[in-house]
Amino acid sequence: MGVKNRTWTGIPLVAGIAEGLIVASDEPLSLWGGLDPETGSVIDRRHSLVGIRVSGAVLSLPFGRGSCSASGVLLEAIHQNTAPAAFIVSEIDPIIGLGAILGDELLDRVVPVILMRDEDRRSIPAGIRVRIERDGLVKAV
């Protein structure tokens, strides 16, 4: 059974439209020291996604952790076109949300951030392509 057209419902913390492949982890990630804005790759050696390029992907994480500089890293990644296309998180994460709001306010580029119940978020298979709608709907395409 394919997942095409399957949908998941989330709440947009930062609303926008995006499409990309799901890259998922059950470990929180600090973008500072975790994401290289030059390459868009995960560089935290202690993280399961290390070495994976997340540019243009829909990054599914429980939440961000660690440094306050993470929002600045996300803004740089958006500026350099290396950022994920969107985030799906299971806890309200002001630092990732802030980075996305900064991208919108300062660069006029929206990276949606969707809040979703953890069990729903974890049920989205890694590697599938999804489209994110402004109302927070995530749809396999």
Binding site: G33, R65, G66, S67, S71, G72, P94, L102
Partner: protein, 409 residues
């Protein structure tokens, strides 16, 4: 402010603040009496453009505002071999924040300066270790304010009325009891970063309450504990029963509410955590670093005492990272000269995680800081070895990793 009547800088700052406030579940804003800004770390062109845009628009901070580290040693960048183009951008970023009226503190340990807040004070602080220390050790009130919300709070003098600003959100959520740890282990300075790193991984988004400590940690112990907890997790507040100001008793730490079930922290778990901070598997060594968070004068004095009459092995880079204020006092009292005689480079304003100071080709960094050890592989491009201050000094002298963790095993 949002309508732009106060000018473009307050409009932009208020626009960012009012869009982020709902993410903190805030229905309104509160006034804050001071700010600490982390956005002065150079992350790239977009952050520099933002700061220069605010400064060019005449943006001014409305409350006393301290600045975190910048990505250069402002007086010594050239002799430290920093690239001139990078140093220029890093300097411009710091200047933009100074032009907005922020103070040139340039430290990640603002709580050990005159900018430290008072108990109960509502503040808007950034820099995860400073947030954890201000909330936990001082009892000031702030959420974790990320880059560039920090300057937005400073310019507006406001923060979201939510989270740790409110009493009801400051009580503990998880209960940890330390068992089977000797008092002699607790006397070691390297006990605290290990405990903090474990707490952050066990309780990454909660408010841990720790009881069972047998002695009163020093300010520097609490500094390394908070920094480690805010590195492995997103901890912004923790309570140590009988130590921190909102936890004189276990009941107070939980705000009079029902306690959750206690989770034991064992010696074995602490030992595993300590080992996990080391990623290198060889004895080879290139760099030894102290000072994340920035070394206090007391820590510099201890390093001077441990290094007296000795010198680091040829080819080993030794860094002590601190603030210009502490470096100046260390200079006056002769500590700086002692550290330099040992072979240490004592930097001001910055640290090795935000400025490329480690020599290229370096493969292994040894440190007494859980934060440096954690970020070494990702941000500095080195394998890490975590050790006590004494082990770090012995290793610097020997030119290879020397381990003496008798008290731990």
């Amino acid at each position: 402010m949002l309508a732009g009547e106060a000018g473009e800088a307050p409009r932009l700052a208020m626009s960012i603040l009012s869009r982020v406030a709902p993410l903190y579940r805030a229905a309104s804003l509160i006034e804050v009496s001071r700010a600490h800004v982390d956005g002065c770390i150079y992350e790239g062109e977009a952050g520099l453009a933002f700061a220069e845009r605010l400064a060019a628009a005449g943006g001014k901070v409305r409350v006393p505002t301290s600045l975190n580290v910048v990505s250069l040693d402002r007086a010594r960048w050239s002799q430290l071999g920093q690239d001139a183009t990078f140093a220029d951008r890093a300097r411009r970023l710091g200047e933009a924040y100074l032009a907005m009226g922020a103070k040139p503190s340039f430290t990640c340990a603002p709580y050990q300066t005159d900018e430290s807040p008072a108990f109960g004070e509502q503040i808007a602080w950034s820099e995860s270790n400073a947030v954890a220390f201000a909330n936990s050790v001082i009892g000031a009130r702030t959420n974790r304010y990320g880059d560039y919300l920090d300057i937005s709070c400073a310019i507006t003098g406001r923060a979201p009325a939510a989270g740790l600003h409110l009493s009801e959100n400051r009580r503990g959520t998880h209960w940890f009891q330390i068992h089977g740890v000797s008092e002699s282990l607790e006397e070691r300075a390297d006990f605290y970063p290990v405990l903090g790193y474990l707490l952050g991984s066990l309780c990454p988004s909660g408010i841990p309450v720790v009881d069972g400590l047998q002695r009163n940690p020093s300010d520097d112990d609490l500094k390394s504990l908070c920094a480690a907890a805010a590195t492995s997790g997103a901890i912004a507040l923790l309570h140590l029963v009988g130590v921190t100001p909102e936890a004189s008793t276990l009941t107070e730490a939980f705000g009079g509410h029902v306690k959750p079930a206690a989770r034991t922290i064992s010696l074995a778990e602490l030992q595993r955590t300590r080992r996990s901070l080391t990623t290198s598997s060889t004895y080879s060594l290139d760099v030894v670093a102290f000072g994340s968070p920035h070394s206090s004068l007391a820590e510099c004095r201890e390093l001077a005492a441990l290094t007296r009459g000795r010198s680091a092995a040829t080819g080993i880079q030794v860094f002590v990272t601190t603030s210009a204020a502490v470096r100046a006092i260390a200079d006056r009292v002769g500590i700086l000269a002692e550290l330099e005689r040992f072979g240490a480079t004592v930097t001001a304003d910055t640290c090795i995680a935000v400025a490329p100071l480690v020599k290229s080709g370096a493969r292994v960094l040894m440190t007494n800081s859980a934060k440096y050890a954690h970020y070494g592989p990702g941000l500095i491009g080195v394998e890490s070895v975590f050790g006590s201050t004494e082990e770090c000094i012995e290793s610097a002298v020997a030119g290879k990793v020397v381990v003496d963790s008798g008290a731990w095993e």
